[in-house]
Symmetry: C2
């Protein structure tokens, strides 16, 4: 599948081969990929973009599988993006794919892709946003973004989701983990997974206390706490209902529009930053000249930066 | 001490009150601070900028104190910048200052400042680079940058140092920590502190193995491993000699110039990024218009970003 205007059409018709190819172009930043993404962008906005995050061992992958199975029962198509910055070391993403593939492979209504960062986290964020564009334009009813909630970059990535579920497990002090990782502010739904374990209700009451302390303002979404046992599927239909309820609430309260604007702003900013960093690199004559000037103290960094920005 | 042209002169003459005041302006980004920094930049380049990093508990602060005491014996003035992103939580920086102050306070040849991040890590990096400019222009012979080597931002900050020492301690598996934290590539000198502890020689041989595997290329600096016991001062004179040897080596091999250029490039880039992010924020009419366009899908993020960058 070549990268040309026809690829956009093939992605839009939901062809799995075309989607796979396009996502590879996105990851590799193939020349011409931006033009296809621009075309695809015009056909986005129909998907409900979910974020699922939580610490390692919280059973996120199993939960996403169970969630997907439930959505398929309702005949909704699902695109899954597993963001795994550590996978180059752990091989985690690949393993995760294999496990899931055994359940979901062969289903034309499901598309799964792992995105591993090989370079900067900025690259990861960018590739993830573009992957959402591709899967949304491909007609997926639901796009699930699965991340390990550890770093700021991943929290940033989650801001591209419309509804974010933060997964905790009993007995790991994960409520505190969620606070530490800055995940509390981004949770639209709290999931306590492995609810059959001892301490599940304790975790629920701790989360409830945390939510109480955070003091919901009038007119804000009331963050629910959903118990699940992903391995057996318990609580998963209710979780799907929570996601749907959140979507409906956002539509009614202008929040969908607000998040879309925030998402547009983030995309524009990241792209502009990328362009600028491309111009401010060794080998560009005007940049090299500025560096030489500042190093020789004929000029100062601020004046040089101002001049370079004005020349853009 | 007001922020005006006279402040630059007072900083350059090494007045402690003026230095303190200027660093406060740097941290608060007082209006007009850039002009004074531009003036000070022209008078930098004489200081040897050292970086000292390592995990919490490795005795970095004590080592920096011992190092400073040794440099003072040689009648060299020392400026210390302790970068502590966690200090707002732990109070670590303030405590560290107090401990050190009891040894070094009252000595006009020593200036100590903690920089704690209150906002973004970008702000921390920027403030740290500017603090180096201030202390260098103030005539300090040596500027020591002390950081906890945990995040990418701190590794970035260390790239402003000319000679970086990475501190390990026996029995903590810190050599592996150094690799994990991306500190191996930036180490010009390895320090094994608390060398009186069991396992010091094991840590040395592990580091030696790591260095062997990293395969030094011909013409590269040969990274030494220095044992120290900072509390008693053992190995500290030798560490100072290692720093001096590294400086002499850099002068002879063009590395000082290369690092100066890299440092200039980083400063220009960070400042340009800051300017650009200031222009790409909500409330700026041309940005808000672009966001509205992309959200309504009348345009795509890439085209909008291109236009905004070209307008700058």
């Amino acid at each position: 599948v070549k990268l040309d205007a026809a690829l956009a059409d093939r992605v839009r018709s939901g062809e799995q081969v075309a989607i796979a190819r396009m996502l590879t172009h996105v990851e590799r930043r193939t020349a011409g990929v931006n033009e296809v993404l621009a075309e695809l962008h015009r056909h986005t906005g129909a998907a409900h973009v979910l974020g699922v995050t939580g610490p390692p061992g919280s059973g996120k992958s199993t939960l996403v599988s169970a969630l997907t199975a439930r959505l398929r029962e309702q005949d909704r198509s699902v695109g899954i993006i597993a963001v795994d910055p550590s996978s180059i070391f752990s091989g985690g993403a690949i393993l995760g794919d294999r496990i899931r593939m055994s359940d979901l492979s062969g289903d034309p209504g499901v598309y799964i892709r792992s995105i591993a960062t090989r370079g900067a986290l900025g690259g990861l964020s960018r590739a993830t946003l573009d992957a959402i564009t591709v899967l949304d334009a491909a007609g997926m009813d639901v796009v699930v973004l699965e991340t390990v909630g550890v770093g700021q970059a991943e929290v940033d990535v989650l801001s591209a989701a419309q509804s974010v579920a933060v997964v905790s497990v009993p007995g790991m002090g994960d409520d505190v983990q969620a606070i530490k990782a800055g995940l509390l502010e981004i949770a639209d739904i709290h999931v306590v997974n492995k609810a059959d374990r001892d301490g599940a209700l304790k975790t629920v009451s701790e989360l409830r206390e945390v939510l109480r302390l955070a003091k919901r303002k009038a007119g804000q979404w009331n963050v629910p706490i959903q118990l699940t046992t992903a391995t057996g599927g318990e609580g998963v239909p209710e979780l799907v209902e929570q996601f749907d309820a959140h979507y409906a609430w956002m539509q009614q309260h202008g929040e969908l529009e607000r998040r879309a604007r925030r998402n547009s702003a983030t995309r524009i900013r990241w792209l502009a930053e990328e362009m600028i960093l491309d111009r401010l690199r060794t080998g560009r004559p005007e940049f090299d000249e500025a560096v030489a000037e500042v190093t020789a103290r004929r000029g100062d960094p601020m004046t040089a930066a101002r001049r370079l920005v004005q020349q853009m």
